[in-house]
């Protein structure tokens, strides 16, 4: 088999899925770190947002890599799901999945779809207006605008509710995904138990951080 065949095989696809997942999990930490500042220091949030929005390395290198990773993770997820469904053309009349596996592990595609729907909303809320502001309307730079724009978005309880729901689903996705990524990369060794415990903490704390930020911003916006 050629070396390029690595990612064409079932194991190769799993490894690719895991690598993109690890990248996205690191990104979540970075995103949350900036978000949290909005809850206690609008100035810091503005400064960091301005840096992220204007720094050419972030804008033209990190951002395209991130978008690629997000699209890749979703597309690969759909490809794997389609292949997995083909592997069992006739389903069982009675299947007791709960007897041997977690709900999270069996429903990654559904938690993933909710996260995808959230990302569409999130892009419409923030990314598209930002692109328009900077590159289409060509508005002048304003390093103090970010917090106000953020607060404006969190005025609606429906949007905040949608965000909270999406983060709950993200937590469920991560509760299986974190350990699964390491297993796919072959890291089931003496560190796996510790790693899984860390994964549980990560999977709860990170989405909880996003939820707390959204709720605090909602209260500040009233």
């Amino acid at each position: 088999m050629s070396k390029s065949g690595t990612f064409k095989s079932s194991i190769g696809r799993k490894i690719a899925m895991a690598l993109s997942a690890l990248f996205l999990m690191i990104f979540l930490i970075q995103h949350l770190t900036i978000n949290i500042t909005a809850t206690f220091s609008p100035e810091t949030f503005n400064e960091l947002s301005h840096f992220m929005g204007t720094n050419p390395v972030v804008q033209f290198i990190a951002q395209p890599i991130l978008i690629f990773a997000v699209v890749f993770h979703f597309v690969m997820g759909f490809i794997l799901e389609a292949k997995n469904r083909q592997a069992r053309p006739i389903n069982y009349k009675k299947n007791n999945g709960a007897a041997n596996s977690s709900w999270m592990s069996r429903n990654m595609i559904y938690s993933g779809l909710v996260i995808l729907a959230f990302l569409v909303l999130h892009f419409i809320d923030f990314w598209l207006p930002e692109m328009n502001y900077k590159y289409i309307a060509m508005n002048p730079e304003d390093p103090t605008r970010y917090y106000e724009e953020l607060l404006h978005k969190f005025h609606s309880p429906i949007r905040v509710g949608a965000y909270v729901l999406a983060f709950v689903l993200l937590a469920l996705h991560l509760l299986h995904g974190f350990g699964s990524a390491f297993q796919s990369l072959g890291q089931n060794n003496k560190y796996i138990d510790g790693l899984k415990k860390f994964g549980v903490i990560y999977s709860i704390l990170i989405p909880l951080g996003f939820i707390v930020t959204a709720v605090v911003l909602y209260m500040n916006a009233q």
């Binding site: 065949g5 079932s10 194991i11 592997a87 006739i90 009349k93 041997n100 990654m108």
Partner: protein, 250 residues
Amino acid sequence: MNLTLKIWRQKDANSKGKMVDYQISDISGDMSFLEMLDVLNNQLIEKGEEPIAFDHDCREGICGMCSLYINGEAHGPDRGVTTCQLHMRKFKDGDTIYIEPFRAKAFPVVKDLAVDRSAFDRIQHAGGYVSVNTSGNTQDANAIPVQKENADMAFDAATCIGCGACVATCKNSSAMLFVGAKVSQYALLPQGEVEAKERVQNMVKQMDAEGFGNCSNTGACEVECPKGISLENIARMNREYLKATTSTKD
């Protein structure tokens, strides 16, 4: 005990099957699940009906021939046993029991509950062996020192009987626990290490060609495996595969 059985009946590989209801009475809790099916088949034969086809051989839990998806679980609700070792005392009087064949594209139904698992044989042929020159001067395998931990892990992997419960229970019909066990049992020993690179690539290639799904790491296979084969074997296979496909040395 008296039971209602809902059993998959399918005339042959090309026919469409369906679930058929059967009532059975006076079943002892000491019977094995297969003995209960024997009783049912005797009754069907006496009535002039076609008996239910199901796979079985040793009935001691070591040959890997029996299968059956019982009440939504491979080899039924008990743990660490094959269907032949499942006793009827695990069920209650009046229970309804669903009995279906192992489902996977790669395990086509031959008749009723019997499925063709020769896909596993073809995966084994692709690399599940150690090439040994048996011309008469073969070295005694015991003369090669093996680290105790590795020997234990290899032996644990080698307890896989290839029954296919992992595939049947996996929501993706993935065969990775089986292939992981086979790859591991050789990769962990010096005798198997020599061909480790080609083995893992060829076995995975065959596994994919057979139409098995991908692993989602749900862990269902490990729970339902009658021999308790660990997920560590899948991780080892992934490592072996990554090593084999990314190393520069041929």
